[in-house]
């Protein structure tokens, strides 16, 4: 119960008017930057970081982390209303969130997203509070083979559990892997596929691709089809919110599963993105009605949002305890910590108790205050859908362009974004799924590096992926998921799957 005492101490540090005001300011700023696609958490935190140099570390981190929570909440808004994911992990939220908005259930989808974000973060914070020391030693168990096994698991779950035709998923994923190879190869130190262009040196930025693939292509499709945003002005009231909450217990299994996946992948440095996709795919796999996913099912919003926020929150733990940022925003926060003279590492928890527990307490408070704040503003955001398309579309395109430019201050990225917009449009027309493409673009590089480092370390022996219990079980699970359709077929012939289906919720 030592943790409990320390946590109470953390709350005591926080509960001053000054920190509470900073918290509100941070949340509002965060929601604003979250709503602008591409500007997102990392840029918001980066812009505001110098403002906090004169504050004491605890106030500063409270404000910055509240910008982070605000941006996480805000990211869901554009994913649902415009099909434009703000952060990498919002991509899976668009699968069912956007169809819901089109059906006039935007308020419901937003409420679901905010509520599940809150639940995911809460579970992760509880985990951090009581298990921090144990978790950091677990994260240390991850060497190159373990990392590769986790990435493999994500790729395999996509192919094995995805609803699209398998060959289309593989085509889409391969194209993503190909583009991920552009730029400097860390392992050999050579340039690949840059064709002498200085712009291609840094590779293709994931967010630029996502803004184009999802945002611009959606505008193109809408222009072709009807020149109006689908979705009616939703009737929003407390009733909608309460209605969603009343249904929550029905989805307890999904929420629990996604929280678990999120926490597990979040403490694996860099695993936060994989979590949202896996949460979504597993929810679909275990559902009695997998066909309805992707057509506006509320569970399809709950699953990825819970997982994403559980992992987004849990990702702060490896940052604090090991100095490895789990996401772009965490990386900027890391830079901030160093300015205030706090060096992330195993001793941070021992030497700077006030700071660490203040931060953890702010995760609780920030999430509660954030939830109330976003829920009360849902009507404002949902009413954007009532604005005529002719007025809103140019604003979306401009904000997409600003977002794409702001990531690396490069004009080239705007052209790249437009190019990806056309690619996305063509993919949608010929029915190639976009998600495997984006997943491969994010994780391709890391998976390749992890694989090659494993091979250098083992002298080229593939047995390294079964060399201990941890990596062995992840690798095996990956193979099982890849061949799941085949295994499922065999099982149902024997008559097993029927029984499992009956017992699963």
């Amino acid at each position: 119960m030592e943790a409990f005492g320390l946590l109470l101490h953390g709350f005591a540090v926080l509960l001053t008017w000054k920190t509470l005001v900073l918290m509100m300011v941070g949340l509002v700023l965060g929601i604003f930057v979250g709503v602008l696609p591409g500007l997102g958490g990392p840029n918001g935190v980066a812009i505001l970081l110098p403002l906090t140099f004169t504050m004491d570390p605890t106030s500063a981190i409270v404000m910055l982390s509240c910008i982070y929570w605000g941006a996480l909440f805000g990211g869901a808004i554009t994913s649902i209303l415009f099909n434009i994911p703000g952060e990498a992990w919002s991509v899976a939220t668009t699968f069912d969130g956007y169809p819901m908005a089109q059906q006039g259930r935007a308020a419901e989808a937003l409420t679901a997203a905010f509520t599940s974000s809150f639940i995911g973060s809460l579970v992760a914070v509880l985990l951090i509070t009581f298990l921090a020391p144990m978790i950091s030693s677990f994260a240390l168990k991850f060497g190159p083979p373990e990392f590769f096994a986790v990435y493999l698991l994500t790729f395999c779950s996509f192919v094995g559990l995805g609803r699209e035709a398998k060959h289309k998923t593989v085509i889409s994923m391969s194209l993503g892997l190909l583009l991920a190879g552009i730029g400097m190869d860390t392992v050999s130190g050579n340039l690949r596929m840059t064709f002498g262009s200085a712009e291609l040196l840094r590779g293709i930025n994931f967010l630029v691709a996502v803004i184009g693939l999802f945002g611009i292509s959606e505008i193109l499709l809408t222009m072709e089809e009807r020149l109006a945003l689908r979705g009616h002005a939703a009737s929003i009231s407390l009733r909608v919110v309460l209605g969603v909450w009343k249904d929550l217990p029905k989805y307890w299994a999904t929420l629990l599963r996604s929280s678990f996946i999120g926490c597990w992948l979040g403490i694996t440095p860099g695993g936060a993105i994989a979590a949202s996709f896996m949460g979504y795919n597993l929810a679909k796999r275990f559902s009695k009605d997998p066909e309805s996913f992707g057509k506006g099912r509320i569970e399809g919003v709950f699953a990825p949002e819970t997982a994403a926020h559980a992992s987004g929150t849990a990702a702060l733990l490896p940052m604090l305890a090991l100095g490895i940022p789990g996401s772009g925003t965490a990386a900027i926060l890391l830079g901030g910590l160093m300015v205030w003279g706090l060096n992330p590492g195993p001793l941070l928890f021992v030497e700077h108790k006030d700071f660490v527990w203040g931060l953890i307490a702010s995760m609780y408070l920030g999430n509660v205050v954030g939830l109330v704040l976003v829920l009360t503003t849902v009507p404002i955001f949902a009413s954007i859908l009532r604005v005529p398309f002719a007025a809103v579309a140019p604003m979306i395109v401009v904000s997409c362009a600003i977002g794409a430019y702001a990531i690396q201050n490069a004009m080239f990225d705007i052209w790249l974004m437009l190019g990806f917009g056309i690619v996305g449009y063509v993919f949608k027309k010929i029915g190639i799924p976009l998600a495997p493409f984006t997943l491969a673009l994010v994780l391709g590089n890391r998976a390749e590096d992890a694989f090659r480092l494993s091979m250098i370390g083992s002298g080229g022996d593939l047995k390294v992926f079964w060399s201990n219990g941890l990596v062995g079980s992840i690798s095996t699970l990956a193979i099982v998921l890849l061949f799941w359709p085949v295994i499922d077929g065999v099982l149902s012939r024997v008559g097993w799957t029927q029984r499992t289906r009956a017992t699963s919720p």
Partner: protein, 328 residues
């Protein structure tokens, strides 16, 4: 103390014959360009400078840190090269300015930029897991008898860490498998988790895990010991780490940390930054940072700096050639 440094600064001031505040001054926010990822040694140093400049009011315009670590830092170099004539960008450079053009054929030459000052020299230390060998001799012996590949972690491929590993092999006759990670921080955690046997991180990159007793410094790749004698762990200070030469492995390497402006800026603009970074090296923030991260303080500018760069370039080129890392 360091008379040449003061003389150079005085000479620069005399040359311009105007006090700094009456000369050129940036009219826009100034960007410190970092050629590495978040949390690395360059990023930490840039943020220390940002804080030192703001807290001591050394400049009217705000200063921002911009991370351009893409393509192992090549992104930052190309960014500086394409910003010719823009006096609001200053690069915090390290040995990549010599090595990247050689290993990856990046069309970049540091002579196209405007040198401002060398602000520090960084050390390299051989570290192993605290459960591993206790001395360099034991370490080399263990590497020689190892049946599986003996893994050495480092940052990037065909760069300073990789070069040091090759020379360590040549001097000891042991064989290492070099694992290139994306950052020094990652190399540090991978060593703690026992996924590698050793690494050659800069002091700053392994400081926290050393203090936590998870890694052990074996030797410093320099001709003399680090000068700081304040205890870092319960029992050891930086000065307690022997040099690799003392331990019978004569490998030395120091890495520059230097500031550059883009090409084609005016002498007034260059002088402003020479003066600014000279003031930075006088601040308490800088001094504290140098000691904490075990960096060697130095301040070179003007002709001295160019001479240093030319010699350092030649040295790095010969090391890279000998290690076989120069692209054909």
């Amino acid at each position: 103390m360091r008379i040449p440094v003061k003389a150079v600064a005085a000479a620069t001031a005399l040359l311009l014959s105007t006090p700094a505040f009456a000369g050129w001054e940036p009219a826009k926010p100034v960007e410190i360009v970092v050629a590495a990822g978040a949390g690395g040694a360059s990023d930490q140093m840039a943020r220390m400078m940002q804080a030192a400049i703001q807290k001591n009011n050394l400049m009217k315009q705000p200063i921002v840190v911009s991370l351009k670590g893409g393509a192992s830092g090549a992104e930052a170099l190309m960014y500086m090269k394409s910003s010719e004539g823009d006096p609001n960008k200053v690069l915090i450079a390290y040995s990549l300015i010599y090595m990247l053009p050689l290993s990856a054929k990046i069309p970049f030459n540091w002579r196209e930029l405007t040198p401002v000052s060398v602000v520090a020299l960084d050390q390299f230390v051989l570290w192993d897991n605290s459960a591993g060998a206790k001395t360099v001799k034991e370490f080399v012996a263990a590497a020689k008898v190892a049946s599986a590949p003996f893994k050495m972690g480092g940052t990037g491929s065909k760069r300073e860490d990789h070069v040091l590993t090759v020379f360590l092999e040549q001097k000891t006759g042991a064989k290492f498998s070099y694992l290139p990670y994306k950052s020094g921080g990652e190399a540090a955690t991978q060593l703690v988790g026992n996924h590698t046997e050793a690494n050659v991180n800069n002091p700053s990159e392994n400081l926290e895990v050393w203090r936590a007793g998870q890694v052990r410094p074996l030797c410093v790749f320099d001709k003399e010991r680090i000068s700081y004698t304040t205890k870092v762990t319960d029992t050891q200070s930086w000065a307690d780490i022997p040099t690799c030469k003392e331990e019978g492995v004569d490998v030395q390497y120091l890495m520059l940390r230097a500031m550059f402006l883009p090409g084609k800026v005016t002498p007034e603009q260059q002088a402003f930054y020479v003066d600014l970074f000279h003031k930075v090296t006088q601040t308490a923030e800088y001094k504290e940072y140098m000691e904490k991260q075990a960096l060697k303080p130095i301040f070179l500018t003007g002709k001295d700096m160019v001479k240093f760069l030319e010699e350092d370039d030649a040295l790095n080129k010969s090391l890279m050639t000998e290690a076989g890392f120069v692209a054909k």
